[in-house]
Amino acid sequence: MSDSPPIVELQSVTKRFGDSDRPPVFANLSLRAEPGEFISLIGASGCGKSTLLRLLSGLSSPSSGRVLIEGQSPETSSSDRAFIFQDAALLPWRTVRQNAETLLQLRGTPAARRHELSAQLLDLARIGHLADRYPRQLSGGEKMRVSIARALTLEPSLLLLDEPFGALDELTREHLNEELLALRERRHWTAFFVTHSVAEAVFLSTRILILAGGRIAHDLPVALPYPRNADTRETSAYLNRVAEVSRLLHAAVSA
């Protein structure tokens, strides 16, 4: 065992909204995530997947229990986290390049360094040629690429993704899944990924958590080797895992 703290640790976290007589979104949730893991959260709507991400981001705090990011509370943690929302959340009055630089600008990074980093990441996300466009001139997939590039400019150690590809068509989604993994090969962040798609979860993750009834119903490893690409989706190992996880998800949700 190493001495370094896990990147994410939840110690019997309970979260409820409003009055204490209402049932909590989840109760006594404990969880550890090691650096480099890609963890997908799946479960029925309203099972608390997005709430869990908000706790990790520090946008929301637990009703009881502790959330630790590299051993510190999310509010004070010095480690960089980036959030990618279902909506690309771009500033419509800024060009693609200016959007990609927004988070760096907020922390006061000098302009020259900002340009350098944003140019690098826009190229990595394959939208370097769109740098001077405005968001309204982009397709849904292109907007999401800008959003991902913007998040990665912070060189985050933890990436929180809340159904980022949920609104995209199947082909674009699969394509972006592959590119997200390609980016992961180059930048070693830990990811928490909320999705409704079992196939997407299996394709991306090292580990899948099925949330149901306010707890983690299943904690499932995904043992497929990386790098994964379009061919991975044809393998029987992948298809079997998708079938198993689907079965467990249905059982957990109807239980």
Binding site: S57, G58, L59, R81, A82, F83, F85, D87, A89, L91, P92, W93, R94, T102, L103, Q105, L106, R107, Y134, P135, R136
Partner: protein, 263 residues
């Protein structure tokens, strides 16, 4: 291309038809002893020539009042809008009184104002300000508090300072609302200045603005000159509204959906 030609040609055509109708009504509808109510277009044109110096100096005077009042309204509303947007308490304490000010007819306020500051440009500016600032405050405040929740979350996650949140997020996001208010205010400002002239334009060495001129021509029964004054007022209104439409286009067309070409 055809479309562009049409958008210019059609209003011109309507204009020609209206002038023709004007002549027709005058000649065939009105009995001879009432034709003075609708002077012929050429008589109005003649009045333009005859009264050119008075009309010109009145227009300058009204335009100055309208511009100063409008500028004051913009500055005050942006400052007030920022203050109102920062705290629900400030909003709750001020909004009803702003409403009250807006709902008090300006015609009643004008004489009080003139008692306070005297007739002349000062009164005209204040009346213009009073008439045009309300839509600006309301729209600016509305814009500043309507920022997309997701973008606010993004800025919070990015640990944005209060000032960064205001100037990099809330202010630019409020621009479309601000310009909506600005368009309404620009249409109201010349009306405010002309109404102001009617009450307060009689001083300052005898030369008032367009409102004052309208009062004089009406009293002297100079009907073609009265029509000419109305037309000049209309043109002034167009200039104000047009300038703001252009300004709004300049600020928003690159990114805002309202300027997205339709297919």
């Amino acid at each position: 291309m055809n479309r562009r030609v049409l958008t210019f040609a059609l209003p011109v055509l309507t204009g020609i038809l209206l002038v023709a109708a004007w002549y027709a009504v005058r000649l065939w509808v009105l009995p001879a002893d009432q034709r003075f109510l609708l002077p012929a277009p050429d008589a109005v044109l003649h009045a333009f020539g005859e009264k050119a110096p008075q009309l010109w100096s009145a227009t300058l005077s009204t335009a100055t009042g309208a511009l100063l009042g409008f500028a004051t309204a913009v500055i005050v509303s942006v400052a007030l809008g920022l203050a109102l947007s920062l705290s629900p308490l400030v909003r709750a304490s001020l909004y009803p009184w702003l409403m009250a000010l807006q709902l008090t007819p300006i015609i009643v306020l004008a004489p009080i104002l003139i008692l306070w500051v005297g007739p002349g440009l000062k009164s005209v500016v204040i009346i213009t300000f009073l008439i045009s600032f309300f839509p600006l405050v309301v729209n600016t405040t509305q814009g500043l508090v309507s920022t997309d929740r997701l973008l606010v979350d993004l800025f919070r996650m990015g640990r944005a300072s209060r000032l960064q949140q205001i100037f990099l997020l809330r202010v630019p996001a409020a621009m479309p609302y601000f310009f909506t208010g600005l368009r309404i205010a620009a249409a109201l400002a010349p009306i405010g200045a002309i109404s102001g002239d009617m009450f307060a334009g009689s001083s300052g060495g005898g030369q008032g603005g367009l409102g004052f001129l309208a009062v004089i021509y009406s009293a002297q029964f100079q009907i073609p000159a009265l029509y000419a004054t109305a037309i000049v007022s209309c043109v002034l209104g167009f200039l104000f509204a047009g300038a703001v439409v252009w300004l709004s286009w300049f600020a928003l067309h690159r990114w805002h959906d309202s300027y997205q070409p339709k297919d």
